[in-house]
């Protein structure tokens, strides 16, 4: 399992079941890039238990608007298709783990 790049075409099918962590980011956003290795680590450590996806808000403006992403980085946790948690701004690893509980 690896990090999935989510688009408006595959978003719903990926997030419809299970626990999914979605990272809304952009290439010009330094803080987003700083958080990326932490997201990668979580994907490796919890492979099988959670799915991890990334949404490039520059390419997927519709998805960003759909979930009210007004500032990046934004992390949203989906549980069986429903938004279960959302954080805006840089979060340390423990805070992300807390979101997944």
């Amino acid at each position: 399992m690896a990090i999935m790049h989510l688009t408006k075409d595959n978003f719903d099918s990926v997030t419809s079941s299970g626990l999914v962590l979605v990272d809304f980011w952009a290439t010009w956003c330094g803080p987003c890039r700083m958080v990326a290795p932490i997201i990668d680590q979580l994907e490796e450590e919890y492979a099988g238990k959670i799915k991890v996806g990334k949404v490039n808000v520059d390419e997927q403006g519709e998805l960003a608007a759909r979930f009210g992403v007004m500032s990046i980085p934004t992390l949203i946790v989906f549980k069986n298709g429903e938004v279960a948690a959302k954080t805006v701004g840089v979060q340390p690893k423990q805070a992300v783990l807390d979101m997944l509980k």
């Binding site: 330094g30 803080p31 890039r33 700083m34 290795p37 007004m70 340390p92």
Partner: protein, 269 residues
């Protein structure tokens, strides 16, 4: 990731410079993220008479200190630090589009000269942003307002205009209110009302709480223990950002102490 340092210092004022010079003396690789010297509070001092060994205007003293930094092996990184976070064994500092990693970070960001606007904290992340390059693209082609002045603010204003935003510019001084419901949508500046999709408040430096997620602080003042230690592993603080007295000698002293503590911390990693 752009580069790795032993010690990364956020802030190029007297505390940051003192920390950098001390760390360089100890053979460490040092980076200093700094705004232009004119933005330092010291620069505004008309005359400094209680700093041993140096007398003159704040601007003259600031220039001297800056020259010393420039002549050292420390790398000066222009720009504004946007976020500081522990990445496990290292500490990451995001600046602009990228980020740096260091074994230890010293926060020497000084004090904010500008009080918070009404509604600023409430709507941060919901129509209020501190970073045009981070969030600007989410408001491509929309109506935005910028509160800020100076060289960096001008660059951000140009960036926003380039991506098609309709930008209303204000200095950030005066009576300011940010209003809205689920998100901020109205800005009132000295009686003038503007509808906005996003309000970019561009300060020279982010407050401690915004910059370092989870740092123990009170009303913008970072809580430090002995030797400038903060509650975050590997992160130290020095100078005006740790509170009163807001004096040059105190800032320089704390910069030296924090650097030595950071060097010690690194040796035990």
């Amino acid at each position: 990731m752009s580069a790795n340092f032993d010690i990364l210092i956020v802030g190029g004022g007297p505390a940051g410079i003192s920390a950098a010079l001390t760390a360089v003396n100890r053979g460490k690789t040092v980076g200093v993220i700094a705004n232009p010297p004119e933005t330092s509070k010291l620069y505004l001092a008309e005359s400094v008479t209680n700093y041993p060994g140096m007398e003159g205007s704040g601007a003259e003293i600031m220039q001297k200190m800056r020259s010393q930094l420039e002549n050292s092996s420390a790398a000066i990184i222009p720009g504004k630090a946007l976020s500081v976070m522990s990445l496990g064994k290292t500490v990451g500092v995001a600046v602009g589009n990228d980020f740096y990693e260091a074994r230890s970070v010293i926060i020497a960001t000084g004090i904010s000269r500008r009080p918070l606007c009404e509604g600023e904290t409430k709507f941060l992340g919901r129509g209020v942003s501190y970073c045009a390059t981070c969030d600007g693209m989410l408001y491509k082609g929309k109506k935005v307002a910028v509160l800020g002045e100076g060289e960096e603010a001008e660059k951000d204003i140009a960036f926003l205009r380039d991506i098609g935003c309709e930008v209303s510019v204000f200095s950030g001084r005066g009576k300011i209110e940010i209003l809205g419901d689920k998100k901020a949508d109205t800005l009132v500046v000295n009686g003038e009302t503007v509808k906005t999709d996003c309000i970019f408040i561009l300060k020279e430096t982010l407050s401690a709480e915004s910059l370092v997620n989870g740092i123990e602080s009170e009303r913008g003042i970072i809580k430090v223990g002995r030797s400038g230690k903060t509650n975050i592993n590997g992160v130290f603080a020095a100078g005006d950002c740790t509170g009163a007295p807001y004096q040059l000698a105190k800032a320089v002293g704390e910069g030296n102490i924090a650097a030595l503590a950071a060097v010690d911390y690194i040796s035990k990693l």
